[in-house]
Amino acid sequence: MVFLTLSCWIRNRGPDRFWKVQELLKHARHFRGRKNRCYKLAVLAVRRAFVYSTKGRRFKKRNMRTLWITRIAAATREHGMKYPVLIHNLTKCSVQLNRRVMSDLAITEPRTFLSLAKLARARQQEGFQAALGDGKEPPGVLSRIMLQ
């Protein structure tokens, strides 16, 4: 061939660009608009999505806990009591149920939850008796700790 410099100008690019692009776009397939198709827009959107998902893992724990507390508060108000009273008295009776279990009980086991509310109410009354009463031996059962 007479013209030899033309072939020296051809560059061999990498063979993998398609798959590298697809690896990123697969995380963007459920997005809205051009960000699910175009690489330049998808890069930014996918990075934001990952950042949000990292932050969201910490928020999820907080949000679930507030949801459980709201549900337990609503359930105790049905029985004529308030949430802080319930929690305080249950801890005094050394009932170590956490909020998740208590909210599940309030939804699926309403009579068990009623008995928990009654237990807290009884312990509250005993506390009042001990504080305001005559200082005699309290007739209470729930506030006595069994020493082994």
Partner: protein, 151 residues
Amino acid sequence: MTSRGTPSRFLRSVLQNGVGRYVCQLKRVSIIFSKKAQGSLGVRDFIEEGVVDYAKKNPGTVVYVSPQPCRVPKIVAEYLNGNTKEELVTNKTSQQVLEVLTKLTDQSGLDIIRIRKPFHTDSPSIQGKWHPFTNRPPSAGFIRPQSQHAE
């Protein structure tokens, strides 16, 4: 790796396996290895020693041993629900190959993706689920037969 971008499933067993008889979910195991390469040394040792015992212990699983000219020895496991799992066993000892096989035997064939809840019940409520009228006393009285009106 968002929770919405990646698939997830609920915890379940395949057709309540284990409630009655336990059925091993592993249908077929194919051990692909090379007769001469050094990466398949452990696999060859395993096939000399342990494969017959393994096959006798798991009568419901078919074990295929296929020596092929291949660079990378593999164990391909097929499950009763149609899923396939491939494990590479390059440069593993015979004991490690046995461990890989026991791991594959104990798995059900369900996908290994995020499990949404670590528990599952078919009957979540014993006392009846809460509804707005559970804790409300009835406002009207009992329903009585209307004998007085008839007279």
